[in-house]
């Protein structure tokens, strides 16, 4: 649904001879499948928003190619605009007008007739559970309500791809969960969703696949689970009622175990590709050789571990 190759953008900062060129995006190549929720992660200034704005036709790339919903971004941005929706980070509604009026105007700006715009506005209000506040001015809305209006504005024309820039920034946990549900609902309706976020929980819980961008380049791409596995696989903490070194001997010969670490007389750690598939195998080996198992615990590396490995920085530090 979205395919880019070598997308580039640089900016000039300062003036005259003192000015410098900043390469914000140095060649982004990625592919997003239809119906996917794709997360785009990166530290501030990594080129996240610049990439998003290029894909949403707001800035012209300096080079590279992109096809969005079957349309070439560089040669036909007008058609891309018909097929995509974009919701900026801060959102943008006028305080003195109502959600219904905003939605109708947005639909009209997409070229729809007055009657059709009105119909779509009502449908969107319904879908986003905003009907109750529909005729109140936007300035009276809560953060979560405002955010839902923003997203409703972005999808009023039924786009095939939706770009969301930090959709849950600044929302309380409850509104955030509500927003995730909205995004999932849109995907269910067949939309492809491309979101930037710096919340790792969000990327983990919401996104089918993610890409991490750093210094203008993609440094990792895959499902959150794949990326975590790529780092170090899973960790199994095993406690036996007997001799840990004996258990270690037995298990280190198994093909799915990368490494065994004996902690003490009874405890050991196993490094495996996938904990979920390794656990039954480990159980079988230990049972077959008469070592009694005390406990087994699965640890997964977090996305933050992935982020740390790929960018050398932790997202949580900020």
């Amino acid at each position: 649904m979205i395919e880019t190759s070598g997308l580039r953008k640089s900016f000039h900062t300062g003036k005259g001879r003192k000015g410098a060129t900043v390469e914000a995006v140095r060649g982004v190549t990625l592919a997003v499948a239809e119906g996917e929720i794709f997360g785009f992660l990166g530290p501030n200034g990594a080129g996240k928003t610049t990439t998003l704005r290029m894909l949403a036709t707001l800035i012209m790339p300096d080079g590279g190619q992109a096809t969005i919903a079957g349309t070439d971004l560089l040669s036909d941005p007008g058609e891309v605009r018909r097929r995509v929706g974009y919701v900026a980070q801060g959102g943008a509604t006028w305080d003195e007008v109502t959600a219904r009026e905003e939605l109708a105007l947005q639909a009209r700006m997409h070229g729809l007739s007055k009657a059709e715009a009105r119909r779509r506005a009502s449908a969107a209000l319904e879908a986003f559970e905003l009907t109750e506040y529909a005729d109140r001015r936007c300035k009276t809305y809560s953060g979560g309500q405002r955010r839902r209006v923003d997203i409703a504005l972005g999808v009023i024309h039924g786009p095939r791809v939706l770009f969301l820039d930090e959709p849950t920034a600044g929302l309380d946990p409850q509104s955030r969960a509500h927003m995730w549900d909205e995004v999932r609902r849109l995907r269910k309706e067949g939309m492809t969703v491309f979101i930037t976020t710096h919340y790792l929980e969000e990327a983990d819980a919401l996104c089918d696949r993610i890409a991490i961008i750093d210094h203008g380049e993609i440094v990792a791409e895959g499902t959150p689970d794949d990326l975590k596995r790529e780092i170090s696989g899973d960790v199994l903490a095993v406690t036996v009622n007997g001799s840990a070194p004996l258990a270690a001997d037995l298990l280190s010969g198994q093909p799915y175990v990368h490494k065994v670490e004996v902690l003490d007389e009874q405890g050991l750690r196993l490094y495996v590709d996938s904990g979920a598939t390794a656990i039954p195998l480990v159980l079988r080996v230990l049972e077959g050789s008469g070592v009694e198992l005390g406990a087994i615990e699965l640890h997964r590396p977090s996305l933050d571990d992935v982020f740390l490995t790929k960018t050398g920085r932790s997202l949580r530090e900020k």
Binding site: L58, G78, R81, V84, W94, V97, E101, L105, Q106, R108
Partner: protein, 255 residues
Amino acid sequence: MMKLARDTWLIFQRHFLLVLRSPTWIGFALAQPVTYVLLFAPMLKLALKAEGVTTYTQAYRVYVPGLLTVMAILGGSYAGFGLLREVRTGIIERARVTPVSRLALMLGRALREVVMLLVQAVIITLLALPFGLRVPIGDLLLAYLLLALLSIMAVNFSYALTLKVRNEAALGPMINTLSNPLMLLAGVLLPLTLAPLWLLRIAEWNPFYWSTNGMRELFSGHVGASPVWISMIIVVVLAGLALSWSVRSFQRSVQ
């Protein structure tokens, strides 16, 4: 072309609605001109005696056109602030991801400014009637046309300048520094017939000197007087230049 007109109308409607939703804004916009009409203009009958002004009708025919010129130019010059705020808050951006005409985003806003000015002009004119202002309706409409053109010029000049400077703190002083000499040299408060010759010679290079004079001739019912057509030509050209400048800056900055 149809799409441009439709989209411009769409944007205009929204911005007009915003004015209607904030009535206090209208109050503030009118407070100053009304003050001048009520508290300053009555002094002109005596002050302009040397000019041959003997009635309040004559005094208001001198004063109201000058006031309207100030409102068009000064009011229009600050229009860019609103545009810049909308660029920053992302309201323009939200519109830009739709296929709406880029030009309409600007023209619709400019049209709102022009219409608001005309509404204010009508209110001022009506307020001056009890003081004895009398203007033939045809001439008045021509004067409003001249005023609308002045406004188009000022608003678009402001848009272009704002998009270039992009700094509200610098813009205010900049606009004041530019507009004050232009206003004084246009004789908006006192007609330049009172000026010494050297000042008059300078003023003749000021386009707004001509537009103020043209508007005064129209308010006096002298539709055939030369300042009328001279000012029409000057203002049409300037409005056209300002419009093309702002359209180009806008398209460059928003693509």
